[in-house]
């Protein structure tokens, strides 16, 4: 027979409490309350797994609660070999803690670097084409209402570009009807080109002007945009943003105040790294396609140099920007 443990009994349904003695038997808990013995079969009791050196709380079937100081004997009797208890036991195990200190940052890195991007790729393939098409139409509509205006380029210039582009597309064996080019005048956006996930590529008049009608350079940029479409980057970015922001909020969600600020900053950093990764993928896609056309990366490097001439960059941008640094991209193209 085991030793008796002293505890407190909280009566069901009220704030009353009294001293109680506990006796742990095989299959039942016996309580000595004010001189009377009560017994409770073990399956009728419930208790959350041990936590630190906190007193154990045992819920009785009648709604009462017994609180007893933690002891190895009581923990073993209550928790036995339950999975939740075994996991909880790691928290007080020296090797469990040491392993966690080493593995937590490693696994965190692995999840963000490999697991989430891989999940995002498979997610992107499940998004129906109809959704992608509608999303693209609506986005272009909204942009036309706000940032974009009809192109001011002459009809012949536009046709010239389109013909050149048709040639490229058929040379690369891409479906011509899938990728159609739209010209827009964009005062606020400046020189820019972007692809919508359905394959529509928008080029601003400002970009055409910046590139001084150099079709090869423009082609390099367009191939980069096609890289985004071919690899379903917009859907992947949605999935990655969703997964990473939710995971960060669940892992570090109980941070409060200023620590919250840091969590917010880390979300931004992680997302920028994702976005940069996708830019690299699109860059390399463009370089591969240029190679197929028998061209080297020079035209792509030129395009980047043109963009670099517009805005000076600082070393902080490596972390704060959604795009990789132009200098690195130029080096990559010239390799």
């Amino acid at each position: 027979m085991s030793e008796m443990l002293e505890g407190v009994l909280y009566a069901p349904g009220s704030s009353k409490s009294c001293q109680v003695w506990l006796q742990l038997e095989d299959g039942e808990l016996r309580l000595l309350v004010e001189g009377n013995w009560h017994s409770y079969p073990k399956p009728s009791l419930s208790s959350a797994p041990a936590l630190g050196r906190m007193p154990r709380e045992i819920k009785l079937p009648d709604g009462g609660m017994v609180q007893a100081p933690p002891s190895e004997e009581l923990n073993l009797w209550l928790d036995g070999g339950k999975l939740s208890a075994r996991l909880a036991a790691l928290e007080t195990n020296k090797w469990g803690i040491l392993a966690s200190i080493l593995l937590a940052p490693l696994c965190l890195f692995g999840v963000f670097k490999y697991v989430i991007p891989a999940l995002a790729i498979s997610f992107a393939h499940y998004v129906p084409q109809a959704y992608i098409n509608t999303a693209s139409e609506h986005t272009l509509l909204a942009l036309d209402e706000s940032l974009l205006a009809p192109s001011q380029l002459s009809e012949t210039t536009r046709q010239d570009y389109l013909n050149y582009w048709q040639g490229t597309v058929s040379q690369l064996g891409l479906s011509a009807h899938h990728y159609h080019i739209q010209f827009r005048h964009a005062e606020k956006l400046g020189p820019n080109a972007f692809a919508l996930p359905d394959g529509t590529i928008v080029i601003t008049d400002q970009l055409v002007a910046l590139l001084e009608q150099d079709k090869e350079v423009l082609q390099a940029i367009l191939l980069h945009e096609i890289g985004h479409v071919e690899h379903r980057h917009s859907m992947r970015l949605i999935a990655q943003t969703l997964a990473s922001s939710v995971l960060i909020s669940y892992l570090f969600g109980d941070l409060s105040g200023m620590a919250d600020l840091f969590a917010g900053a880390s979300t931004t950093l992680v997302q920028n790294q994702f976005s940069q990764e996708l830019e690299w993928e699109a860059d390399n896609y463009a370089l591969q396609q240029l190679d197929k056309l028998g061209q080297d990366g020079e035209s792509f490097a030129k395009a980047m140099e043109k963009l670099a001439s517009l805005a000076p960059s600082s070393s902080m941008e490596r972390w704060l920007s959604s795009h990789p640094m132009l200098k690195d991209r130029i080096d990559n193209a010239r390799q």
Partner: protein, 402 residues
Amino acid sequence: MEPVDYSTYSLSELNEARKQLDDTVHPEHAEVLDAWIAYRQAPAQPAPSSTEPEQPRRAAVRFHGDGQEFFGIWIVNLLLSIVTLGIYSAWAKVRTNRYFYGNLEADGHRFSYLAEPMQILKGRIIGLVLFGSYMLASYLSPFVAAIIMLLLFALMPVMICLSLRFNARMTAYRNVRFGFQGGFGRAYALFMLYPILSIFTLYLTMPIVLKKMDEYIYGNMRFGDRQFQTNLRTGEYYVAAIGASIIGAIMAVIIMVPAGILIAVLAGSGSLQEPEGPAATVFLILTMLMYVLVITVASCYYQSHIRNHLYNNSHIEKVVKLESALGFWALTKLRLVNLLMLVGSLGLAYPWVKVRTAALFAEATHLQLFAEADQVVAENSADPNAIAEEVSEIFDMDIGLT
């Protein structure tokens, strides 16, 4: 015969059940029933007190948590949460809350956190699905996104109210649960209408709104069958808000003047012109640090002032009066050291930071207990679910409680 949960029975129902029960066949049920009838009758009996005002007993509040112990809990739960891609985070949340509630002791009794991990997990899954569809929908069309934003905004007061209800019901002391009974209508006025109206007064009426929010949150709290009562003064909210603004302004001036001189000197030497230069980066970091410092000190003044006022004017009649003496300097020192510890350890000091904070808040608190502290009766209501709590968390709609 299955054990019956009599906790949901009223006194008359209990008496009825007692009459119908055959003592000889089910003596154990008769015993339980008798006990329940005795509890239900207890508050109805006249208290054996005299006509003199009773003297309360003053009891300290202590926090027994330990930074090293919580570090083990935190890091192991973090690893398990990461490798299960966030699923275990529901268990981690419950264990963390259990640790901080269960180590908080007042008058020799501990608090308890009662939520089950599965409740939290279900709430999180629903929150995730809603958040995911929101992201997909907002990508589909800006118009749809705007509608969803409006819908979320419209639901915010309900979410706040349900979260308060959930968190209160999951907290217990002496085996008696807390509760929150604030209504949705009032929540709409307080968390939507009044803050919008205060914009038109250039936020000059915001302290009144904040006072009314606290009245709603704390005045609607229950401990078992007893209601908290608050007696807050608008003036104190103005003192706190104006005090915090003055402290912030003075600090900003003290910091800005040397910073301005520094900029002038650096600009003169031309080292700020070069965006890649270390001077620009250092300057950016310093500015952010100063901003954090000013906000921290000013918010500590507000928080300590309001917490003391709120606690010192809240009570449950004949049960408990709260006392708080949280010093402005003590809180400021705590927050600044916390910040240094977090930055210096790259976040690893987080468990110590949490424990230190809980210990300071506990130490600043006392209870005055009255005779009926032993006679609070648990109230029974359906268990709320964690959905609103988790949804509001993922959409960042939580409100901070002091």
